[in-house]
Each structure stands twice: as C-alpha cells, then as structure tokens.
Symmetry: C2
Subunit: 295 residues, 2 copies
DNA sequence: CTGAAAGCGCTTACAG
DNA sequence: CTGAAAGCGCTTACAG
C-alpha cells in the first residue's frame, strides 16, 4: 500500500476504532514556575521518548491560567481527542485529579496526591529528600535552619515541609515558624524571602530553598548583607539545574531526575491504557549533589 | 446544549469538515541544543498563548533523531492530523522546508531559509546582530576576534558568520580561519572550542559565542589559563538566558526575544490557514545586553 | 428556512 | 476466510 502512496487518515481511524493514539499533556500554566525551570523540558524529553517508541503523539494543552487546566482536560476527554492524560504537577485538593478519577479516564500524575493513593503517579520521595538535607545540615552544626518553599498549594511543598519538620523534631530542634517562608519559583521571590529571613533577630545559619533559581536570589540577599556562604549561612536547593553548577558559590542541590520521572509517567500511562493495568505508582530516586554552598 | 451535557466529538467534526484546529509543532530532536536552551520553553510559551486565544491545540512531534523530523511532518500531514506546522529551527537545505513547500501545506519557520524567501518565517536579523557585536568589540580595541558558532548546518550559524566577517572586512581586519570554530550548544563544547583558541600562537582578545551555555565553558577555559575577562579576553554570547546574569563575570549577551518569535510565528501561521494569507515574514528585534564580560 | 440524507475515511461485525 | 454493509459522530449540501 505504501508504494501506492496510500496513507491512512488518522482522524477517520480514530473515529472508527475509538482510539486516538494521542496523550494529552496538561502543562503547568505559564504563571507557574515549571516553565522556566529546566525540570520541564527534561521531563518532556522523557515523556516524549517513551511515547514515541509506543507510537503515541502528544497533544499539549495551551492554557495560560491555572483555572484553564481543568477546562483543557475536559475538552480533551469530552472531545474524545486523547487516550490518556499526563498531569505535570499536583496540588492539594487538585480538581484535575478529582475530575479524572471521577471520569475513570486513564491518567498519570508527575507528583503525588494527598487525597488518593490509588491513582497512577510517579514522584520523588520529597519528604525524605528534605529530611536528608535537613539532617545533613544539622550534622554540619547548623541549628537555625530555614526553609524557603514553593506555593503551599503544591503537594511537593507539603511533603518537603513535613520532611523538614521531622528532621528538626528528631534532633530536638524547636520548629520556628518564622523560619518557614513560602514563595514562588522565581529569583526575585528567593531574594525577598531571604531578606525577610535576614531581618529576623536570630538569622538562620542554613537555608533550604525549593529551587535553584530561587537560591540565586537567596545568594544575592546574603551577599548584600556581607555574610559568607557557607561559613555564616549554608544553602541547599532543589533541581540541580546548570545554575547550581555555575553560581558563585556552587550550590548543593537535589537532582530529582526529571528525565526518569517523565519516562516512568509515560510508560505507566501506556500500560494503563493498553493493558488496562491497575493503578501503579513509582518512586524515582533523587540524589543530593554536594557543592560549595554547604559545609 | 451545554446544559444537557452535550459536547461535540472533535474527531468526528474534524473528519466531516476537514479542519482539525490543531497545529503540529516539530520539535528539534533531543540530540539538538534547543531543548536544554531556555529559548525553547519561551518560544513555546509564545506559540501556546497565541494558539490558545485562537482555539488551536498543539500536536507535538515526538522524534528523538533529526531524521525523524521529516517523518513526523509527513505523518501529521498525510494522516490529516493538523491544519498547519511550525518548524522550531531551520537548516541549510532543510528537507522539512522542502517537503512542506512542495506539499503546499501551511507552515511557518522560526528561523529562515537560505533557499526560499517566499515562505512564512520569523527570525531575528542574526547577521546584523553579530555584525553589531563584532563592531562593538572592535570599537573597544579588540582586533583578534574569534567566533565559536553552532552547527554549520544551521541557518543561524551561516547568518552570524556572515555578519562577523562583514564587520571585520569593513574594519580592514584580516579574517583568520583559525578564529572560527564550530561547536555544539553545550558547555563542554564551548570549553573545548575555547581551549583550541587559547592554544593558538596569537590567542584572541575577544570571543563571540553562539549561546550562553557554551560561553560558560569558554569562561572556564579562560580562567584555567589565568587570563582575565574582559581585560585579556572579552566575551559576548547569545540568548541572554539567566546564566548570562548569574555567571562570573556576567555575560554580555543578545536577547533574541524568543517569546515574540513564538507569538509571531503562531499568528502568521493562523492567518495563513484561516485567511489564506500570502507568505509573510517578520524580523523580530534583538537587544544586546551589555554586562561585565566585555569592556 | 428547515430537516433528512449523504458523506468524511476509516474499522468492525456479520452475512455469505 | 472473504467482502460488502453498517457504523463511528459530526458537517454540508440539497431537497422540500
């Protein structure tokens, strides 16, 4: 048939056999962090490579506001445009997860849900990662450890907060709520949050930051105060982007393995569609890369 | 109808009216630079926002090798899956452009073609940008100016090379082929290319680099030689990513406005589809951001 | 102007 | 096992 130049009309085929061979990718809205963050292209690369091998295409949602994410999902499902959906992030009481679960439509979350265990998801053990880092800083003699987290709506923030608190408690260090700051995944936000911490009576001797970009702002604020990193204040952050390697000082940062998160998410989803697998979750290893910003 | 919970089947509609309201996005293959580069997510953001406003969705190609790009295009078109196509980069004798033009299928290129003027495209004036930078460096007293470019297959490389040569010639500076190095858009490649330049008998007093990430490698090589930036060697690069702001020293870099490139590409394509517009091209302004890596 | 029929290009289930 | 018909869920062109 190929010799005759025949090529099947994919749309007609989809209509007939009720299979689109397309996965809907729900992007974080642009107001959101993930777009700037190198996490996103890496995860997309992982998703794309696995879907490609399995002859699935990607239909990307084009929403600019957070509210539009659910609308995109509904549009994709009701319009019968996709066989499954990948959510790139998860929130507390996530209405997208809620809707997808209720619809019994195949989906997978990069991240996890506080409300449901019986869904497909891939995630790091963010609680343990933050627990490990906090413990490490304590081991190195820090006792006034602050946390600059991302939005409190994000499940990842809740998990990290909980790992942070757990480590402090186990080491009999009082949790100081002034040391917990919530920000956005932007350099400016890191800067502002750090300035707040540095204006406290007891300034922290270590700061854990949710993302490398934010950490750059933190470094800036600390340098402005003429404090030394890591002598006066240690910094540890997340995502191990190229910024962590190139900043001054270089940043201790957690590699969350976005490529593997993306690949795993895609393959779990495909199995759930093609083989009707039960809900499955996977914990992807993280790795703490120690650099000059910690002792 | 909405009250009754009716929602049209988009697939069926597409089959009936031969319109998918979907744009195919041909991603650069992963081996390629653009994926790591912040250029890509920004351009995607621009594309996405315009398509979203016009009720178009994005079908992303999932190719991992360069050769697969053309296959993706053929699959999209023959399968009648998209109404138009956006190419994220352009090469010399680009077979994707060739095929699309021949098929008379609506498309737009982010970048330009050396072979065709009568296609839809958006691009910076890369020749002039490089011309401007080279002139600036000459004005500041540099005369041994090197160029670390990207792949020679890319049209952007050809254009920049030509702007570089033009500025040298106009200033009666001999073009030294040893000063022209071709690399990949990776830090390591910048490092290796710079080491080569620094091993020459007459080392350059200025280096123009195709991307900030590569420039980091260049900085590293120069520091290893205990040379000073910009006193001994000036550096200027492209893309004005966050790396340019945060590296030590900070980098003079060209902001190519990827957001606008993406938005313009999308709107030109939509006009070409919906209003059957003639081929149109747009030159997007660049801006040279001067920082500490140049005098 | 309205409504029923034909058609988009496939797949599937069924008659032979 | 093969081949023609019915059906996927819309839109479009046409008869009334």
């Amino acid at each position: 048939m190929n010799i005759l130049g025949y090529y099947p009309n994919v749309i007609a085929r989809s209509l007939a056999n009720r299979k689109t061979n397309t996965i809907g990718l729900i992007m974080p809205s642009f107001s959101d962090m993930l777009f700037i963050n190198p996490f996103f292209p890496e995860a997309l690369r992982g998703i794309s490579s696995v879907l490609s091998e399995n002859s699935y295409d990607i239909l990307m949602s084009t929403n600019s506001k957070h509210k539009e994410e659910l609308e995109s999902i509904q549009k994709f499902i009701r319009g019968k445009r996709v066989d499954g959906i990948i959510l790139m992030s998860s929130r507390v009481k996530d209405e997208c997860i809620e809707f997808l679960k209720q619809s019994k439509f195949p989906f997978v979350v990069i991240g996890s849900s506080l409300e449901y265990n019986d869904i497909n998801f891939v995630d790091n053990d963010n609680e343990k990662a933050t627990y490990d880092i906090t413990n490490y800083l304590i081991q190195k003699g820090c006792s006034n450890i602050a946390l600059i987290a991302g939005s409190i709506d994000l499940v990842v923030t809740i998990n990290r907060l909980s790992g942070y608190k757990k480590a402090l408690q186990e080491n009999d260090i009082q949790i100081n709520n002034e040391y917990i700051v919530v920000g956005e995944f932007l350099e400016e936000s890191g800067y502002i949050s750090a300035k707040r911490l540095l204006s406290l009576e007891n300034i922290p001797d270590a700061i854990i930051v949710a993302d490398d970009i934010m950490a750059l702002g933190v470094i800036k604020a600390i340098k402005e105060k003429n404090l030394k990193i890591p002598e006066d204040i240690s910094i540890a952050s997340f995502n191990n982007s190229i910024l962590a390697k190139t900043s001054t000082p270089t940043l201790t940062s957690v590699d969350v393995n976005p490529l593997k998160l993306g690949m795993s998410a895609a393959s779990i989803l495909i199995n759930s569609i093609d083989k009707n697998d039960k809900s499955k979750s996977l914990v992807v290893d993280y790795e703490i890369i120690f650099r000059d910003s910690t002792k």
